[in-house]
Amino acid sequence: MSAAIEVTDLRYRYHDGTEALRGVTLRVEPGECVALLGPNGSGKSTLLLHLNGLLPEETRPDGAVKVLGQPIVRQNLENIRRRVGLLFQDPDDQLFCPTVEEDVAFGPQQLGLDDAEIEARVRDALERVGLPGFGRRATHHLSHGEKRRVCLAGVLACEPSVLVLDEPTSDLDPRGRREFKALLRRIPATKLIATHDLELAVELCSRAIVLDHGLVVADGPTLDLLDDEPLMLEHGLERPHILRHRHPH
């Protein structure tokens, strides 16, 4: 069976010369939930944009990134975007429609579904994120937590098999974080979550990958990596408190 995500020696340099990725290699199996850790500027977001074919601007036929066995090249870009749902870091970037229901319906509309099916998907997606009846609300009048959840509903409405999330719990209050984590846990898709929320990594992800300076510096079971204090400190992270209070017996 082919991997859900397969990245081989991926390199990327921004126009201003910043080398964001310097040869990243990683593999995520179907159904896995993997945390992508690393300090600010380590290349996490850049890597995630590649998984949806949003970078590089000129698609190269080199097949450094494969999703569900398909290389990301221009010919199957549409197919890839249909199967990979990407949750952006800033909800205001993602919610570009005037009302919630229009925004959630955006993806299904692009898929060319009929109106009844679109409506059913919108209702279902809003229920899944715990916002039933929010359809008519204006997107710019929602709280940050609600915006996040509407973003997720917009992604879920496309029924992706791979979910890629960029710091899904940043800027959320503790309750919002807890609820969002519970929500993510219920989604059966393969998940790759870039995050600074180490508790989220411990609770949701069995495996973690640490990225720093555009390179994968560690890859293994989440608890083992997070428990390795020298490794964590070297790469701008820390051993989370929940591990400090855990007893080996």
Partner: protein, 229 residues
């Protein structure tokens, strides 16, 4: 609240450039709707009907010759009736009208001082006042998304509708962003020198432009990620 903030800014001797910037943003945020939760007969009217009536009133008011006074009186009565039925406070309508009228009043004023056009300033003021009131009433009793849906049904090109929808959506984000930048600037502004403040304003405006264009790129990415073609 915004007005109070503005008055406070003026009273504390805040420099003119920031007052201008701030009023511009107040004007923009004033474009936000006022129909939260109200369900008057005017709010419930179909958006298409309201839009058609508004268009009729505006075209008529602009083109009907001035000596057909009956038209102008009629329009004024209809608008007054709509205003009462919509349960929007008259003070709110008056404020909006004043907010939008400086341009028109400017033209009327120029006319008033031209010897050849005796009394035409009144004509300009009445015509534009009625048109503005029509627009204010329609936009404050109809959610923006409904207006867009009417335009879609009228076969207005999709690209234009998308552009208008995005403009409306991100105006508020931009206003918030500018407001945050203004506050951040103010918290570190210690000089009373006017020149320095104008320079600071230029930086804020430039920075806002850069941020807006970068956000536009991220939005485009987000649209592509959900299958935009």
């Amino acid at each position: 609240m915004q007005n109070a903030e503005m008055a406070h800014a003026a009273a504390s001797g805040q420099a003119l450039p920031f007052c201008i910037l701030h009023s511009a943003f107040c004007l923009m945020s004033a474009l936000d709707h006022h129909h939260g939760g109200v369900a008057s007969p005017v709010h419930r009217m179909p958006a298409a009907l309201k839009l058609a009536m508004a268009l009729g009133i505006i075209v008529g008011t602009v083109t009907v010759p001035w000596h057909f006074r009956g038209w102008f009186v009629g329009v004024a009565v209809v608008l007054a009736l709509a205003a009462v039925l919509s349960r929007i406070s008259p003070l709110f309508l008056l404020k909006r009208l004043l907010l939008l009228s400086p341009f028109v009043l400017g033209v009327a004023l120029v006319n008033a001082f031209q010897p050849a056009a005796q009394g035409s300033w009144l004509v300009v003021a009445v015509r534009s006042g009625l048109c503005l009131l029509t627009v204010i009433l329609v936009s404050n009793t109809t959610p923006f998304s409904k207006l867009l849906r009417v335009l879609t049904r009228l076969r207005v090109p999709g690209l234009l509708i998308t552009t208008i929808a995005l403009l409306h959506r991100y105006l508020f984000v931009l206003v918030d962003e500018a407001e945050r930048m203004r506050r951040a600037r103010l918290s570190r502004t210690f000089t009373r020198r006017r020149r320095a403040r104008w320079q600071a304003l230029a930086t804020v405006v430039g920075q806002l432009f850069v941020r807006a264009s970068e956000r536009a790129e991220r939005i485009y990415d987000a649209m592509c990620a959900r299958g935009w073609k």
